[in-house]
Amino acid sequence: MSHIVIIGAGECGARAAFALREKGFDGQITLVGEEEHLPYERPPLSKDALLHGHAPKLVSDAARYAETGIEVLTGVNVERIDPAAKTVQLSNGSSRAYDQLLLTTGARPRPFPGLAGANHRIRTLRTHGDTVALRATLQSDTHLAIIGGGFIGLELAATARKLGAQVTLIEGLPRILSRGVPEEVAAVVAERHKAEGVEILCGVKIQELSEGRDGAQIRLEDGRTIAADLVVVGIGAVPNVELARDAGLAIDNGIAVDEHLRTSAPDIFAAGDCCSFPLRHYGGRRVRLEAWRNAQDQGLLAAANLMGAGEAIASVPWFWSDQYDLTLQIAGLADGATQTIRRDMADGAFILFHLDAGGRLIAASGIGTGNAVARDIRLAEMMIAAGVRPDPVALAAAETKLKSLLAA
């Protein structure tokens, strides 16, 4: 019987396992994950799970794995892949032979430079365990300092304010969200945080980060010192490539895969946060995405290609962030845009459409309360995938239905 082993039991690995069954794969499936929980959704970790102390939101309950014949090994690490013998060595002492292997090893928080291993008052946020630990420390009088003005840091800031904590957010660059979010959109986010009482320090360099018994201290290059009860470092993520690298697979800002998610080794695929891949709609440039939807889409695609479908990656990058009652959604990659068109919508919501020199829509960035921009961002995503060159005047006019531009 054919055996597919999936290393990494997050969103991507779990989706791939179920998709294999839905597509009719009747061989053996083993899903191996280092965390103690069944696969769960990570987006709530910085939001509702932290606010309310929820249990992990499982991708699926245990019964469905059993019913569909997916063996899940939790709390187990893979120590080594032997691509020649086609085996994986597990931390529980056993090994498994595979016919095909899927690597969905994800990413881990980038550590603060020079900071040694485990800390109590200096933490990162990636797993449910991290959220539990943060929740134990965050109280109404806690002073939380966040290093990094990206999505993790900002979502954490919003949740911490809801919990009543005092929040200082430190960003080394001149503004927050400088990676992938246009300045006009980031400004709305920054203003809202300030209105909610978050202190945001941009363009600030950190000289030293140190932990004391009851807190941590951040010394800035300008001489200021910030004393906090808790510091959370949110300065990006690094892909988990070590297993692949040690097995001799090609690495290029992640496990390098082709447009079918195939690595440089026969019978080994990779998907999700851990891999870099060529992006068709952007001239085949190689990217690595850390996003929930990408993890899900690539899990489904990997399953199809493990079964020989030979389908190429066709999706457009898409991500969102929720902070307070604001939702930001972005489809596509805006760098390379030469023209930006703004569409103003009800209640202060707006979308920026980014066009390249040829007038092709390459990205759309929207922000508003609730799901005000969701439908139009979704339509923009479809327009990007279709290579539409929309009329800028129509894009700017909120009364023009984007659906009509998609069909055009």
Partner: protein, 104 residues
Amino acid sequence: MSNWVEVCATDEIDEEDVIRFDHEGKTFAVYRSPDDEFFATDGLCTHEKIHLADGLVMDDIIECPKHNGRFSYKTGEAKGAPVCVNLTTYPVKVEAGSVFISLA
């Protein structure tokens, strides 16, 4: 026994579109298909309780605005990850230019 409730005039829903309808503490989504038929489902996605009326209607599919979970709004069937629980649907009728749903 049916309990027909008036939702709106037929021309208040565009073709291939959806509106939200709240009634007695419950929320519904009412659809008009591309072939000009009307349908109704529960208003909230079965994944994370998001209002489906903010989502996109494509043919006979409603897509959740938050995480792109998809359902057939004609049958309520969940069409794959991240949604796995079907939507409840409700009978709909059109009379004298108005749309009614049955909440029996």
